[in-house]
Structures are given as C-alpha cells and as structure tokens.
Amino acid sequence: MWEVFKKEIRSFLGSFIAYIVMGVFLAITGLFMWIIKGNNVLDLGVASLQVMFNIAPYILIFLVSAITMRSLSEERRLGTIEILTTRPVSDFSILMGKYLAAVALIVFTLLPTLFYYYTIQQLADPLQGTDSGATWGSYFGLILLAASYASIGLFASSLTDNQIVSLIISMVLCFFWYGVLSLLGDIKALDAIGKSLEWFSLDFHYQSISRGVLDTRDVIYFFGFIATFLGATKMAFESRKW
C-alpha cells in the first residue's frame, strides 16, 4: 500500500498537479477573504474564517476531482493496471494507496491557510479572541468533506479510461451530494421528504461539524459515505474479473 502511496505522491509533485491545486486554492480563498469587496474579513469586521469555509467546498469540488481524475483511469489507459494488479498486492491496498495519497495532498493544501487563522487571531479583539472551537471544527469538517470528494473522484476514475470523462463525472457527483441534496431541504413543496433528503447531503453534516460541536453521527455519516464510495470503486475496479 505504501509503495503505491509513495508513487502517487511523487507523481503529484512531478506533474505539477500538486502545485496548481495548492496555488489555485490559496489564490481563490485569499481573494475572497481579504480582497474582493463586499464580505471579506476586513469589511465585515468579524474575526472568523467563515468566508473561507463557505466557499472552500465549491473550490474543492473542482480541485479534488482534478487530483483524482487520473489515478485509476490513467492506469487503465496506459495498461499499467495489468502490471499493478499482477503484483503481490491486493486490489484493496492499491486503491487505499491511491486514495490516501489524494487525501494527503488535500490536507497539505489546507495547511497554509493556518496562516489566515494566525492573521485573524492577531486582528481579533484581544479580550474576545476567536472562536477556536468553530475554527477547528470547520477544519475537521472540511477535511472530512474533501476526503468524501476524493472517494467520489476515485470512484469516477475507476469507471473510465478517459481523464476528462472522469473529471466531469466526479464534479457532477460531488455537486449533487454537496449542493443539490441540501437545496432540496429548502423546497417548501417537498416538505418532510426534502428535509430527510437533506440529511443525506454532505453539506448538512459539514455545517453541523462546522459549528464546533463534534457529533458522532456526523463523523459516522462521513466515514460511511467514504466507505460506500470506496466499496463501489473496488467493485468497478474488479469488473475485469466478472
């Protein structure tokens, strides 16, 4: 598993995907937090990272899909999947190696934003400080959310040997589970059905964790979500054996 993990990380760093993802993420969140007029931190005068945590899920839909789009589809296109799967490693550890590499890259992308948090702490009213519970909760939620996106992305790339198709499938699925399902809860006509569908959305649980209250139900939801998509990935990956 770690051999595959190491190879993936090397290929992220070698193919510039890593730098592009990190650069784009920092640039967009930085713009929204500090520069774009309207509700940036300085205009609002509120010492919180909320602006970033509100837009990050949408940026990550694109970026995480871009990270995972090649992971299995490229192996299939090149035919190297045949070498990989005939080595003494199980299919599960190949997938986990690839999945954990994607998650590691995302965590690494989020790390520099801790500098924003430091800045905000310096700007905050010394008597009140910042809401550290909500901030750490939001970080935790964002990582779980991105890890869920990564499981969707890996699943999408197991379906096709075309990276672009994989990217599009992944973005559509991520947007559906994050955005579309949570919007259903707002539709009055759907009433209770909409509300219960909303419970299945990633956004619902992300918002819940972001409040800084760690509810095991939310954590279980995310882990269940990831396990489901990794299981589906494994099934698609092993479809050659059918």
Binding site: V4, E82, R87, P88, K241
Partner: protein
C-alpha cells in the same frame, strides 16, 4: 512442475476464448506459446498471472493454486504484458525501484542493480522512460518482470515491434534467463521459437493443437518449414 494447467476455460460473455486447455511445464524450460491473433495466448497468460480468473478448470504455479493462493503465486511470477505498458513520465531507476517495492522485494537497491545488469540498461539508467527507444523500453519492461528474481517468467510478445538488432538482443537476454528460470513466451515469429525455445505449444481458437519439442514438431513434417507446419495446423493449408 513449474506451471500446471488443467482443463482451463475462459468465457468472455458468450464468446469462448479458451476451451478446456491442459498443459504442464517443468521448471527450467523455455516454452514458446504460438498461435494466430485471438487464439487465446494472452488470455492464458492473463489467467496465469492472476489478472483475470478462469471461468472453469484450475491452474497452479510451483505447486501453489492460482485461485486460492493468488498473492503467493504472484511473488513467484514475473510478467511482461502485451504492448509493454510503462509509466512514461517516470525515470528508469525510479520505476524499477517502485516495481521492486510492489513485488515485495526487501533490498530494492540490490534488485535494481541486478535487473539493470541483466537487461544491460546501464548506459540509459538516468533517463526518463518516455525518452527511450522502443528497444530500451522493452528492456525496462523485462527488467520490471524479473526485478524480484521470479521462478517463472511470463512474457507476452516480448519482441513485437522491435528492429532486427533489438530482437536479437532481447532474445539473448531471455535465452540467458532461461538457464535458471521457467519461461513461457508468446510470439508469432517462428525464428524466435527456433532461437529460444525447447518446446512449442500451439493454440488455435482456444484449443491446444500441438504440444511438442521443437525437434518433435519438425519431425511431423520433415520437408516443411516451421511456418508451413504452423499454417497447416491452424487450418491454412498450403505452403507460403
């Protein structure tokens, strides 16, 4: 027996790719796997390396059952798939170290040196795979297959698409390996069989139609060339 295959069949949907084939290869033999395109050569090799399961029948490598002890079998087998798939953006030694790692080799550095030595990749070792000529890419593929010093080598058309000089070089590499390993290689080229193999298994439309030593095959029709024997056996009567 290094490789033992009993009544192996493979169906792709409705299409029968392998129809109950059986053969066994003792250790230390170099066996040529011959047949027209689509005869089932690659399918057999994919099953023996554990890439796809058989529909029925069983096979074992070095006494280990393919279905039950798949991971154990894979440690003993080196595999060069058809078309020699490679990561073009990796460096040779980077790729071979990775290959050694996933093959479960402990001392990957030592395995790398051994594989580079055997395939004579030395002069090119610091290049990216994408920059290599086809002959050298083939050597990288071969190096990947033997990096963990496997007992059995399965090579799917190891010399296809190479120029005559490269063909001779790769043949020599394989011939040298044949002295200590069991090799099963597929090819269309008769001279290749004559140059490397002790034995020939001929397969057509999923069935084995000849399994003989090279001398034995020639004796069946002493006046004909191997090509003619091949054409006759696969149903294209008449010499070329």
């Amino acid at each position: 027996m290094s490789i033992q295959v009993n009544n192996l069949s493979k169906k792709y949907g409705q299409q029968l790719a392998l129809d109950s084939i059986s053969f066994s290869i003792p250790s230390g033999e170099v066996v040529g796997f011959l047949g027209p395109n689509g005869a089932g050569k690659s399918t057999t090799m994919k099953i023996l390396t554990g890439y796809i399961p058989a529909s029925s029948g069983d096979a074992s490598v070095c006494g280990l059952d393919l279905a039950e002890q798949s991971l154990e079998v894979r440690k003993l087998v080196g595999y060069l798939p058809e078309h020699n798939p490679l990561y073009l953006d990796m460096y040779i030694s980077e790729y071979l170290l990775f290959a050694a790692g996933i093959a479960g080799v402990k001392n990957t550095k030592k395995a790398l040196e051994m594989a580079i030595e055997l395939t004579q990749l030395g002069p090119e070792r610091n290049k990216k795979i994408g920059q290599l000529s086809k002959g050298y890419r083939q050597r990288v593929g071969l190096a990947q297959a033997l990096i963990h010093d496997p007992k059995v080598l399965i090579l799917d058309e190891p010399t296809s698409g190479l120029d005559p000089n490269q063909v001779v070089e790769i043949r020599n590499v394989i011939k040298n390996l044949g002295s200590e390993k069991t090799v099963l290689l597929s090819t269309h080229i008769m001279q290749e069989v004559e140059a490397m193999c002790n034995r020939v298994i001929l397969i057509n439309k999923g069935k084995i139609i000849a399994d003989n030593t090279l001398e034995g095959l020639k004796e069946t029709a002493p006046s004909d060339s191997l090509e003619t024997i091949f054409r006759n056996l696969t149903g294209h009567v008449g010499s070329i």
